[in-house]
């Protein structure tokens, strides 16, 4: 008798239950993980990257350098809400850019957007993506450290994030974006974040020019413990960057977390080892630089490769970036002061290639097999993505900088550069002794 009542009850309520499942449901575990990951990625810029860079400049520029990262954080946070998110992820136009439908986050609410992340609030996805938009222009500041006028830097940041980052993010991640449609893989932003900022960094180093006294004056890092603290925060934050890009608390997040740590460790050891063999001593700055190179390289691959592949990927990243920084840069003579191109550009390109080599559908069925798993098509798509994003970023950055140079001017005057940005741009000093 009881079972009949249950059966009737179930039949009665079934339509309502089915109806209730109609709109996409928020998963609490996924949402918690993505929000926490967002805070991790926030930490990468401020104070992670800020300190990483600040320790490498001379003491007269320590605050100016830290302030650039924090200012980027503030400027892009506002830009992303008002315009950036819509341009990057809004309804597609010609595969090139998002529309203006989501300007001011209109329609971006607590309901999930199934196109991007079906189990978390749309605003959670949006704020997670904001932290990526924030860190990307902050990475470029390493290329023009110690000589850029603060006003020019603010204008550059606003223009760059709008004209370069937002369309690139749409190409790769936006629904309808042409690189996404092509099938190029970029799990957590190797193309969008690292290749784009790296190519922009190279353009910046070329247009802004060398620091006064480059290669004649002593330009030693003034406080390496700050740099190491920053590197540790970057490593920590990168777990949110890569594992958070699974957009859920799931197995893929665990794999991304694992390969992120593994690749960073491998690259730290290989950079340190290369330096040890080449220069005779292993250095802390080398180890810290290597771990960042490994984190950069694993970024596009994090959700597509297995742990053993990530060791090979990381070992190569450390050596390739070491060579770029200590051989190629001096050879070509540009002053990429804190190696934004040498680590993020070169490491990002290697990571995108490595994704085309090591990706396997055994890790992620939604991904693709790479060259070493019997598919030669993916690597070609990766090269297209690398070429397109690097070329777009380099050329548009070049143009933006030229326009700023002709109008407000890019560099501080020679005397101000000599006295340092802290005093001349901000009237304050990092150290009172």
């Amino acid at each position: 008798m009881k079972s009949i009542i249950y059966a009737i009850a179930i039949l009665l309520f079934l339509p309502f239950v089915a109806f209730a499942e109609g709109p996409p449901a928020v998963d609490t575990g996924d949402t918690a993980w993505v929000l926490i990951s967002t805070a991790f990625v926030f930490l990468m810029t401020a104070p992670g990257l800020a300190l990483f860079y600040a320790g490498m400049v001379r003491r007269k520029n320590v605050l100016g350098t830290i302030m650039q990262s924090f200012a980027v954080l503030c400027v892009v946070s506002i830009q992303w809400v008002l315009l950036g998110y819509s341009l990057a992820f809004g309804p597609d136009n010609w595969g090139l850019i998002g529309g203006l439908e989501w300007v001011g986050l209109s329609g971006v609410g607590q309901e999930p957007n199934a196109d991007y992340a079906a189990t978390i609030p749309h605003q959670a996805f949006m704020i997670f993506q904001m932290m990526f938009a924030v860190i990307t222009p902050a990475l470029i500041t390493g290329a023009f450290a110690e000589r850029m006028k603060f006003s020019a830097f603010i204008i550059f940041t606003l223009l760059w994030t709008t004209i370069v980052y937002d369309p690139l993010a749409h190409w790769v991640w936006g629904v309808g974006g042409w690189l996404r449609e092509l099938g190029a893989l970029d799990f957590a932003g190797g193309t969008v974040v690292h290749i784009s900022s790296g190519a922009a960094a190279l353009a910046t180093a070329l247009v802004v020019g060398r620091r006064k006294g480059y290669k004649t004056d002593v330009m030693m890092p003034h406080n390496l413990p700050l740099t190491v603290l920053g590197a540790g925060l970057l490593w920590f934050g990168w777990f949110g960057f890569n594992a958070g890009s699974a957009l859920g608390a799931n197995g893929l997040a665990a794999t991304a977390f694992l390969v992120t740590n593994t690749a960073a460790a491998a690259a730290a050891l290989s950079w340190m080892g290369a330096e040890w063999l080449h220069r005779g001593k292993p250095t802390m700055l080398g180890l810290a630089s290597g771990l960042v190179a490994g984190l950069v390289a694993i970024t596009p691959a994090a959700g597509f490769v297995g742990p053993v592949s990530s060791i090979i990927l990381g070992l190569a990243a450390g050596v390739v970036c070491y060579a770029a920084v200590s051989y190629i840069k001096p050879l070509l003579g540009y002053d990429d002061s804190l190696d934004a191109f040498g680590i993020h550009g070169v490491g990002g390109i290697w990571g995108a290639i490595a994704t085309g080599l090591f990706a396997t559908t055994a890790v992620n069925a939604a991904g693709a097999d790479g060259l070493f798993f019997g598919n030669s098509e993916l690597i070609l798509k990766q090269f297209i993505a690398i070429g397109a994003s690097a070329a777009y970023s380099f050329l548009v950055t070049f143009g933006i900088l030229k326009v700023i140079d002709w109008t407000v001017g890019l560099r501080v005057c020679d005397e101000d550069e000599l006295r340092g940005l802290d005093i001349t741009q901000h009237s304050e000093s990092g150290y009172s002794l």
């Binding site: 490498m56 002593v218 330009m219 030693m220 890092p221 330096e275 220069r279 001593k281 250095t283 700055l285 080398g286 630089s289 070491y322 920084v325 200590s326 051989y327 840069k329 001096p330 190696d339």
Partner: protein
């Protein structure tokens, strides 16, 4: 009165300070300084960029004492600061015309 001025290796400071106590000398001035002598500097490498560091950190100890103690003090500092390697430093002795204790206005060796 004489001033004994010694440039020493930083890690020898404690030993030098303790010989002052043995000679009943009641004050010293210590400064962190940088410089070079016969001991060569060293090079430092940051991401492949090599810099020559010519000025090495040293400690300068200054003690003003009576004429009869100056030679003894110099010898004691010499023994305390010696490692036998290049870079142990130097001692300079010079004549001091007068000294004044600010609190009391005493002059000469009374002010030491």
């Amino acid at each position: 009165m004489k001033k004994v001025e010694a440039i020493i290796k930083p890690h020898k400071l404690d030993e030098v300070k303790s010989v002052l106590g043995e000679l009943n000398i009641e004050g010293m001035t210590v400064t962190e300084v940088k410089g070079f002598g016969r001991q060569k500097g060293h090079s430092e490498v940051y991401r492949g960029a090599e810099y020559q560091v010519d000025f090495l950190p040293k400690i300068k100890v200054e003690v003003v004492t009576t004429d009869d103690l100056a030679a003894k003090l110099a010898e004691a500092i010499m023994n305390a600061a010696r490692t036998g390697k290049i870079g142990d430093g130097k001692i300079f002795i010079s004549v001091v015309e007068d000294s004044i204790r600010i609190r009391t206005g005493e002059h000469g060796s009374d002010a030491l």
